[in-house]
């Protein structure tokens, strides 16, 4: 379907109205709605008051779905804390298909490698609309090939929390996987065979969904203790199943530092930038991801902080076992954990009071009264592509198919004083710095430094940073020169051809539309 489009401040054509979202506002700058004058009305939620119950355990999933009042055309949600081991989405979609449901809006916090089943549900018409942070595999192909009835809506983690709180994303029934749960619905992710760590995304769904069903493979005696992440007063029903996921895939192993020399080199360069920037000092706050160069940056920081007796303030975001060890070593005072990147973190959440579980609104919702990313000093991020305006694409593969996740990328880039993108200069011979990225997820105005193995580029807006890095010996290049240097090896690849048809939109964290996703030719 073709939509009436307007051009936003990045020059991207975006639809002015989207089914399921209504009239939209084009992106007009990362901080356009954050100057203190923007009025925001959170919508009230109407809920049926349940009869008093001392046992919420349903006889089975079907009975729970029937009792939830779910109807065709409604919105269901899931969390992605079980990562690639998640079995809940498949389990529920298969039950919904059996029960004859159609035309549902699927609104998980994100989708991963274990969710090809969603593509089947789209093909069968069980799911016709999709709101998510990320997509992989068959789901990406389904969106890029235009199989959804209306455009997929991609949101950041902070943006999703905002959308749920304001009611632009209304969840009818939330199916929340619970590694440990009691008969009244108290649940946590840090206990049990399928423990996954923090339940930060699920917390927001539990608070705002009209109906909440906890799904567990570990029903414990009441009350669940010593830790409750989502309390019973938010949960309507409990369903017990054989397994909510594969523990081997829930533990992703993201704690391991890469041995790839190229990634280590990029990480070392990124660390040198952080050190020279002056932000790495007592009381600094920091966020990095797991895997790739990101976690390796933490290794360099750890050594440096130890050697120079630096004690940081806090780390946030996806937390790895490595960060938990840094907390244990006293290198940071606090960890704020919205999602855990590996199951090794569970012990730390359970036993270390300075390792705190936080919800995704606290983490990154730009419209609450102060989210954690706003006080970040340094964030280290990855990317699929960047462009000469420092815009970042974390969604589109080189074949034009969606295969990434918005995650907390744009949230943290906007909040942090120093946002670094670590990216290999080329992947499979295709350069990573483009004239114009296919899909903007994080706007260049919030990106400070791009770090590749063939040199780094500093956003010209950051003259202060440039001055601090000038004499550091770090190989700084103008981004156009860096692009040219890389292209002298790779050549300039042909652009992937797209149709005009819009199959998805990227909603910026503040609710405006930053870019459109087109159907692949």
């Amino acid at each position: 379907m073709n939509y009436h489009c307007v051009r936003n401040s990045l020059g991207r054509l975006v639809p002015s109205e989207i089914p399921g979202l209504g009239t939209t506002t084009p992106f007009s700058g990362a901080f356009a709605r954050l100057d203190g004058s923007f009025l925001w009305t959170a919508s009230p939620i109407s809920r049926r008051i349940p009869a008093i119950s001392t046992n919420k355990v349903a006889s089975n999933l079907q009975a729970a779905i029937e009792r939830s009042g779910l109807q065709n055309g409604m919105t269901i949600s899931f969390h992605h804390h079980l990562r690639n081991g998640d079995a809940i989405v498949g389990l529920v979609l298969s039950e919904l298909e059996k029960m004859g449901f159609r035309d549902l809006t699927l609104a998980p916090s994100s989708l991963g490698d274990s969710h090809d089943c969603v593509a089947d549900a789209i093909k069968k018409g069980v799911v016709t609309r999709l709101n998510t942070s990320g997509v992989r595999g068959e789901v990406g192909k389904a969106i890029s090939n235009g199989l959804l009835e209306s455009p997929a809506i991609i949101r950041s983690h902070g943006g999703r929390a905002r959308a749920i709180e304001e009611g632009s994303l209304k969840i009818d029934v939330a199916f929340l996987g619970a590694p440990a749960c009691d008969r009244l619905g108290n649940m946590t992710g840090v206990i049990g065979n399928t423990a996954c760590g923090a339940l930060g995304y699920a917390m927001v769904d539990a608070r705002y969904a009209r109906h909440v069903i906890a799904i567990t493979d570990n029903l414990v005696d009441y009350p669940l203790s010593p830790k409750i992440s989502i309390p019973q007063y938010l949960v309507d029903q409990v369903v017990v199943v054989d397994s909510i996921g594969d523990p081997a895939k829930i533990a992703t192993g993201a704690t391991r530092i890469t041995k790839d020399p190229l990634q280590l080199y990029i990480a070392e360069l990124a660390f040198k930038v952080i050190k020279a920037s002056g932000y790495l000092k007592n009381d600094c706050s920091f966020q990095t991801g797991g895997g790739g160069p990101s976690l390796a940056v933490a290794r360099y920081m750890r050594d440096y902080m130890k050697a120079n007796s630096i004690k940081g303030s806090y780390c946030i975001g996806g937390i790895t076992g490595y960060m938990a060890d840094m907390l244990k070593d006293g290198l940071f005072k606090t960890l704020f954990d919205v999602q855990s990147f590996d199951a090794a973190v569970t012990d730390s959440i359970l036993h270390n009071p300075n390792h705190m579980e936080v919800d995704s609104s606290w983490y990154a919702n730009p419209f609450n009264k102060g989210c954690l990313v706003n006080d970040l000093d340094v964030v280290v991020l990855a990317a699929l592509d960047v462009d000469v305006d420092f815009n970042v694409d974390v969604l589109t593969g080189h074949d034009g198919i969606l295969r990434g996740a918005s995650g907390g990328h744009s949230d943290t880039a906007a909040g942090a004083k120093l946002s670094l993108i670590t990216i290999p200069s080329m992947r499979n011979g295709v350069p990573s710095i483009r004239e114009r990225v296919q899909t903007v997820v994080t706007p260049g105005e919030t990106v400070d430094v791009i770090v590749t193995e063939r040199g780094i580029s500093v956003n010209p807006k950051r003259e202060d940073l440039m001055a601090r890095l000038k004499d550091s010996g770090i190989p700084i290049k103008d981004i156009h020169k860096l692009k040219e240097d890389i292209e002298s090896i790779t050549g300039i690849p042909d652009e992937v051809p797209f149709e005009d048809e819009i199959v998805g939109v990227v909603e910026y964290r503040d609710g405006t539309i930053i870019d459109s996703i087109r159907k692949i030719k």
Binding site: P261, L262, Y265, E268, E453, R454, G473, S488, I489
Partner: protein, 300 residues
């Protein structure tokens, strides 16, 4: 016979397996002064042809900037030796690293082959150097004649693992068991104006062990050390990097010596210590290493 080809200083020489395209492509980024594309030990028999082709094309097509590219060919005792040299020399590497050199005859044979190929391919005569790898007891016994064997020779190096095996001893991390062999190679190299390179440190996870071994090699007089992993490069380079105090002192010595020379004085004193030609020579070496490390050194 004194070597006539001066190659630029090489603190770190990074080995890259010749059959690994992306590593060949990225070899320049890690800060090594030289890169050794390997066709020998890291390449299985079935990959020899592919590696040789890949290295040849990399040499012809990639821009490696200021970094010296050396190719380690297979030894003269293997069926690959001649083909390696025949295909690689026309692509004009900075040097051929020749393994399993037991005697002067090995170097001479390689020299003759390279000379012939230079002529056939219209390359400048004698531009491609040879680094000889000494890996047996016999080679150590012959070290002086090897060092004197060819004008094309630019460096000597030890193959520590093979030498230890030949001696029937176990190579340790410290490497003290090879002290004599190391010193013999260094002294012969210096006597004939060649560079001397230390053997590799094989535990890529033990950077502290690498540092200790590199420090010992530096103290003994090695001009550089080979690395088998990019993470080793910065450690090796840092050992060969003077601190700012050393550099300041070296600059002071060289300036004082220049002034003394202009005033026709012989031996002078700097900070109460006698400065003669060897001390000046050491100071110049310190300044050279500082420049190589990217330290700011004003023109003296």
């Amino acid at each position: 016979m004194m070597n006539v080809f001066q190659s630029h200083p090489m603190r770190s020489l990074l080995y890259i397996p010749g059959n690994h395209p992306s590593m060949l492509q990225n070899c320049t980024i890690y800060g090594a002064d030289a890169v050794i594309f390997d066709l020998e030990d890291s390449i299985s028999i079935s990959e020899k042809d592919a590696a040789r082709k890949l290295v040849k094309h990399a040499l012809r097509n990639f821009d490696f900037g200021e970094i010296s590219i050396i190719v380690r060919v297979n030894g003269r005792d293997t069926p690959f030796f001649e083909q390696d040299i025949e295909e690689i020399v026309p692509a004009s590497p900075a040097a051929i690293r020749l393994p399993k050199v037991d005697s002067a005859a090995d170097v001479v044979a390689a020299d003759e082959l390279i000379s012939r190929l230079e002529e056939i391919n219209g390359l400048p005569k004698g531009k491609i150097g040879i680094q000889a790898m000494l890996e047996t007891a016999r080679a150590i016994v012959n070290v002086n004649s090897i060092a004197a064997s060819s004008k094309r020779l630019v460096g000597l190096t030890l193959g520590g693992q093979d030498l230890a095996a030949d001696l029937g001893i176990r190579a340790t991390k410290e490497g003290n068991e090879l002290l004599y062999a190391k010193s013999a190679v260094i002294i012969a190299a210096k006597a004939y104006g060649l560079q001397a390179f230390d053997t590799v440190f094989t535990d890529v996870n033990d950077l502290e062990g690498l540092r200790s071994q590199t420090e010992l090699g530096f103290a003994l007089g090695f001009s550089g050390k080979a690395a088998i992993h990019p993470s080793q490069v910065s450690v090796i380079n840092s050992v060969y990097t003077p601190d700012t105090k050393e550099l300041a002192k070296a600059i002071k010595i060289v300036i004082a010596a220049r002034e003394a020379e202009q005033r026709g004085l012989g031996v002078i004193a700097v900070d109460g210590r006698m400065v003669d030609a060897p001390v000046v020579s050491q100071a110049l070496r310190t300044i050279e290493l500082a420049r190589l490390a990217g330290m700011e050194v004003a023109e003296i």
